[in-house]
Symmetry: none
Subunit: 203 residues, 4 copies
């Protein structure tokens, strides 16, 4: 674990990332409480003191990691977010979010640790979150403008239509529900239908 290959060094060419990834892995495994700087150093293959050349202190390390992880998650979920109809776009995001949330990767597991932290350091995080998830907000706003989606605060819409995606993923990841593709597709559709303005169908 101390021998780093040449290729490895190119990919992870700077220690900043190395340290971030090490921290991410440890948090994914043992929770935020289980994060010690010495562990991070060992996992990253650097000396404890070196961390402090890249991060002011432990808080900053965690804050930067949160931002980094948030960016990764948003990037993964919102890839190709602008292709197709509104419905296609929504469902693509919903499914990506779901599939992402089901994973046992360090990134996803550590992400979930931050989500419900006591409310500290959060202004900077919130700001970033809003920026990163702007496309999703725009999607909702576009739907509202088109008279398709309920005229509610996008955060309401997110709560109603997107939170279930993550919640279901979590349950599956924890083994509380068996995975069943058909049900997932149904749930996705239900979430989409839910926020639509019901067409007083003259059909």
């Amino acid at each position: 674990m101390n021998e780093r290959s040449f290729i490895f060094d190119i990919i992870m060419h700077n220690k900043y990332d190395l340290i971030l990834r090490a921290a991410e892995k440890i948090i994914a495994t043992g929770g935020i409480q289980g994060l010690s700087m010495q562990q991070v150093a060992t996992e990253a293959g650097v000396a404890a003191g070196t961390i402090y050349r890249y991060f002011k202190d432990k808080n900053e390390l965690i804050l930067e990691l949160r931002k980094d992880v948030l960016s990764q998650v948003a990037g993964a979920i919102l890839a190709d977010h602008d292709l197709g109809t509104l419905e296609q776009r929504f469902k693509r995001i919903w499914m990506k979010m779901h599939n992402y949330g089901k994973q046992r990767t360090s990134t996803n597991l550590s992400y979930e640790q931050y989500a419900h932290l006591p409310e500290s350091n959060t202004n900077e995080i919130r700001q970033l979150e809003m920026e990163l998830f702007a496309p999703l907000q725009q999607l909702f706003e576009e739907g509202i403008k088109q008279g398709l989606i309920q005229p509610l605060n996008p955060r309401f819409l997110y709560a109603i239509a997107m939170e279930p995606s993550m919640a279901i993923a979590r349950s599956i990841r924890r083994g509380l529900i068996e995975y069943n593709e058909k049900d997932i597709t149904l749930a996705c559709d239900i979430c989409w239908q839910a926020i639509l303005i019901p067409t007083t169908s003259t059909n």
Copy 2:
């Protein structure tokens, strides 16, 4: 902080509860990571050693607190859960959950800390959770039997119809959305409609 009134002593007549409430308060404020036994002792107005007469160690204190808080939350949310039609019952629970989640009480704030912890100690907690929320599960199952609600795993239904209640409450509590009674009512209705089997209404 050492002077406890007579009334206070009647309400909080035993130290077990006193300690539990102190821990709850501290967790609500500073998160689980910020919980030190010394703090709990000070907040509870007892000596550090006294805690150990009531709880084997810190883990047990936290576990018992989780169970206690879970019971409180379930009790508050499921009060009168069995009155009225399925729809009335669902909406009553939804609204109670929402109103509960909006509060800045220690109980609610600490509750949210546990909900997304790394997966430890969880067997006992899960078991209790299932027992406490059984009425909600029954409600879903009843709806399915009646051909009213989508035949999905109750956890799916919970994720789709109930998680939004908490998610919205959280956003309001955090000041990210302004409270608006009409929107809440609408959201509640949307969540209810969402899990119903659409009546291919020939109406």
Copy 3:
């Protein structure tokens, strides 16, 4: 362990002894370091506070126990010390000491804990020790006066002739030597011969 029979109460009629025996047992099992007042109380079937009605503090409890145990040991070893010839008397003591030291009784096991403590509280103990083992000293002095035993300080004689008895017992108790009656008898005889003035045998 909480139910004490009537007979038991007569034998151990006072709590002083009850506490002493409890402490002895705990020390025998877990060493002096493993002695907590709470444990003593539980083992003795009394409240923690009660111990302090009989002993000023933990030090005094241990000191009194040492004195008590020393008396028991001396009593057991020196029973019938004055019957027979010098040789018979010596060998009886040697064998009793050996047999006593082989036991895994609380009394013996706790006794060995004290023997090599750092030198504190020892004046009182030494005084008692000298009193209790006076018969043994007299035996040596008598032998010297008769021109039978080497004219050495009785403590020398004790060290040469008696320490081996305990040392061998200890080794057997600890399973380092197998017990073999003939060898013990031989060792006892060797120890006796060792301190005799060699008779420039005209044989």
Copy 4:
């Protein structure tokens, strides 16, 4: 206590030894029970945390100290153990043991604390003890083979002939006997004679 001279640093050049010697001193003074890590740190002139860079925990510190002290003692006692006749060899060891045991050095005083501990950690210690004192055992075995020494288990022989050496030293160190060179020499000779097979001397 923080200023360490240059010479001092050369002698005690590494903290491992520094800590070991500090622990040794404290045990010599106050017994094993009186050993706190804070005390060791203070005495050694290091921070409490530093100890844990060199020893996993208190148990390991004590274990390593026991091994270290045992080696020192064996080294001192068995120096030149193989020169001369059996008798010369025996008596040299006996006298060295005696002289060593008389000292009030930390090493000796702490050594005596371990010798009669409740039986824990002892496998490793026993193993080492056997290795270190092998020359003494060989001496006894050689004597037996030559038909000179009684054919007893070497541990018997040790108990009979060597324990007195330490016991007498202890009594002198504690001021219970006055030191008298002639008596010591006599005692040594008695111990040697004791384990010999008596020559049915036709003299």
